[in-house]
């Protein structure tokens, strides 16, 4: 009964969200799957998404991203907690929510036997786009993704990048307030990825808020205004890419490739005042420092002293992946 009471209380919150700067408000959202054993896929997650931003949802496989997206796209009901999309509440105003969101799923759901035009026309009708405007809208979107000359060709003749762009604009036919993109560039070559990124940025300028899930850190970093990290059903961090990087106390990472190594040198380097930590990985010495260029000469002098041949040197700022590893203690691939 407590759950029901909470829901009615939150209804007002959703209604008041109409003119707020947040388009999505999630509070204590939890989803538990009860099959043979209980799995908490989403565990008391709360956050908001601002109008007009590109919001990245990152995390390894099984982190709960997909479940969260499925709840927000009305495909699944949460076990507890509330989620508002604009002034509508998930689980109550699903019909209205479906008319203001656009969804581009991870696995292609284009009808490859049908032409590009027919695919858009079909969804135009499902999405209830004004019939008098639909034709013009389809041509406008085909133009946008540079597929005008292939409008009548079956989608099966298209490249992966072309299909992806077509599928993204298909979700955009009805000018949604909110666009969900699930792994939009998975399996695409670098050239196509860049095109899809441009496409996403362009759609974002049309006042559409975009929620993007991805595995690719570079993609999130390049596109997203803010990024949420998820791991094991929990939200572990949410901020702009730049701020997230500041989470790591280390300023920079010094990576030195070597031929052979002496244990003594590691101790010597570790004892340096500016050095935070030293790690050896695959013939590479990884040294966390506050400022790489300042420490480098000292480190090199030490290596010289132990007559260790240096094969390569790089100084890099921490990537989002480093941030994730720092926050969770596990890598992305390890899940």
């Amino acid at each position: 009964m407590a759950e029901v009471n909470q829901k009615t209380a939150d209804q007002d919150t959703c209604a008041s969200a109409k003119d707020s700067p947040d388009i999505i408000r999630i509070q204590d959202l939890t989803k538990i799957f009860r099959n043979k054993q209980e799995v908490t896929a989403v565990d008391h997650v709360s956050f908001t998404v601002r109008r007009g931003e590109i919001f990245g949802l990152l995390g390894p496989n099984g982190a709960g991203k997909s479940t969260l997206i499925r709840i927000l796209t009305t495909l699944m009901q949460p076990t507890s907690g509330t989620a508002c999309v604009d002034q509508y509440i998930i689980g109550k105003d699903d019909g209205t929510i479906r008319s203001i969101i656009g969804v581009c799923p991870q696995n292609s759901t284009l009808d490859i036997e049908l032409s590009a035009y027919d695919n858009l026309d079909f969804y135009g009708n499902l999405l209830n786009v004004d019939e008098t405007l639909l034709q013009d809208r389809i041509w406008e979107l085909l133009e946008m993704v540079d597929l005008t000359d292939r409008a009548a060709m079956p989608v099966k003749t298209f490249s992966g990048g072309m299909r992806r762009k077509l599928e993204i604009v298909r979700a955009f036919l009805h000018h949604p307030l909110l666009l969900f993109l699930d792994e939009p560039t998975i399996g695409l070559d670098p050239e196509s990825r860049r095109e899809v990124w441009q496409q996403i940025s362009r759609l974002n300028t049309e006042k559409t808020t975009i929620i993007l899930t991805t595995h690719y850190m570079d993609e999130a970093e390049k596109l997203c205004d803010r990024i949420a990290f998820m791991n094991r059903g929990k939200l572990i961090a949410l901020d702009t890419p730049d701020n997230l990087k500041k989470v790591i106390p280390t300023g920079e990472l010094l990576e030195i490739g070597f031929g052979h190594l002496d244990e003594g040198v590691i101790t010597a380097i570790r004892d340096l005042a500016e050095v935070r930590s030293v790690e050896v990985q695959d013939q590479i010495l990884k040294i966390s420092v506050s400022s790489g260029s300042k420490v480098l000469p000292v480190v090199l002098a030490n290596l010289e002293r132990f007559s260790i041949p240096v094969l390569s040197i790089s100084i890099r700022a921490p990537s989002l992946e480093d941030v994730f590893i720092y926050l969770t203690g596990t890598g992305f691939e390890a899940g």
Binding site: L75, G95, R98, V103, P105, N107, T109, L126
Partner: protein, 371 residues
């Protein structure tokens, strides 16, 4: 040495593939059972449905007017026809006596009997014996004619036998061709339509519909409507082929309307049934093996190949609940016998009951998968 090494590599690779295939085969017990079940059912149903002995054919016997008293030929004939049988089989005919030719004719038209024999009256005892046969069935007319002919011979009667085929000469291809129309509808819908639905679901295409504001009832309505039209086209094309190749004809506009009505009803029904079935099965393979079995069962007991009268009793009860039987029976009445609504009414009611149940099942099961 090198050769032995080569053989070893060959066997190792082959064995790896063998093991992989076998493990996959064993991983799905349902499909194994169904694949083994199929040939066994084939044997039992196909063997019985096709190989049965036809006995107990409903036959009318009547004496020609003007009636004075029963002629010796009529009495002896009636007696013999009642007991006439082939070798060790039960009696070939199940004889009903009619008071006059008119009522016998009516019974034949209403399909209560398959044929009737008219013995000459007292006034002209040497006139021919007449035999009126419903020629739209397969095998049965030949058996009736042979039975009546040998009965007369046994009696030593000199009267010639005059045979009247009620619906003209109907070849097996025409008899079978009408059954194939319904078979085409069942096959295309169960195999093609159902698998396409499961594939759409597996690929997430149905889920794609669900995140759009399209109404759930629109999805169901659209799916059943498209399946129905596809099924109807399949049936209609076979009907046209029947007309071109088998020489099947539709005599009147009324007949044509009735054919379309029966086809549409059965198409809606079978499409809804397939929607329900495909919603229940999670994989294409499971669905395909179950449906192949169901298809066999429906088709074999539908009377499309072989008259129902030749089936053993335990198989005929499958016919009673088989929608395909009613559809084929109705189409044969309309197309081969040129009969109208009053004769096919029973078939129509059965088809409507099936269709209504199927629509209900289709809507409720499909709704559950998309909500």
């Amino acid at each position: 040495m090198e050769k032995a090494q080569g053989i070893h590599t060959l066997i190792r690779g082959a064995f790896a593939i063998f093991r992989r295939d076998f493990k996959k085969f064993l991983s799905n017990p349902f499909v194994i059972i169904m694949t083994l079940f199929m040939p066994i059912m084939y044997l039992i149903i196909f063997g019985n449905a096709m190989g049965g002995t036809i006995t107990g054919i409903p036959l009318g016997v009547v004496q020609e007017d003007p009636y004075i008293q029963e002629t010796p030929l009529y009495l002896a004939g009636l007696d013999l026809l009642r007991t006439y049988h082939q070798e060790d089989n039960p009696a070939l005919f199940q004889v009903t006596v009619f008071p006059d030719e008119f009522s016998a004719q009516e019974a034949l038209n209403n399909r209560q009997i398959n044929a009737y024999v008219v013995f000459p009256s007292n006034l002209s005892p040497n006139r021919e014996v007449r035999l009126y046969i419903d020629s739209s069935e397969y095998m049965v007319p030949t058996l009736i004619q042979a039975g009546v002919q040998s009965s007369l011979a046994l009696l030593g009667a000199k009267n010639p036998l005059q045979v009247y085929d009620l619906y003209g000469t109907i070849n097996y291809i025409q008899f079978f061709g009408v059954g194939v129309i319904v078979m085409a509808i069942f096959m295309t819908t169960m195999m093609g339509g159902g698998i396409a639905l499961i594939r759409d679901r597996e690929m997430g295409i149905i889920e794609g519909y669900l995140v759009t504001p399209v109404k759930r009832s629109s999805i169901i309505l659209g799916t059943i409507a498209s399946g129905t039209v596809r099924a109807f086209l399949a049936g209609f094309i076979i009907l046209l082929v029947d007309m071109a190749i088998a020489g099947v004809i539709i005599r009147t506009f009324e007949s044509f309307v009735l054919v379309v009505l029966v086809l549409l009803l059965i198409c809606v029904g079978i499409t809804s049934l397939v929607v329900a079935l495909s919603s229940r099965f999670s994989s294409q393979q499971e669905y395909a093996s179950s449906v192949a079995f169901l298809n066999l069962l429906f088709f074999m007991t539908s009377g499309a190949f072989y008259p129902i009268i030749g089936m053993p009793y335990w198989l005929t009860w499958l016919t009673v609940i088989n929608p395909e039987y009613y559809a084929i029976d109705a189409l044969r009445s309309i197309i081969l016998r040129g009969q109208g609504l009053s004769i096919i009414a029973v078939d129509l009611v059965a088809i409507i009951i099936f269709t209504v149940i199927a629509i209900f099942l289709g809507i409720t099961t499909y709704r559950r998968t998309i909500e």
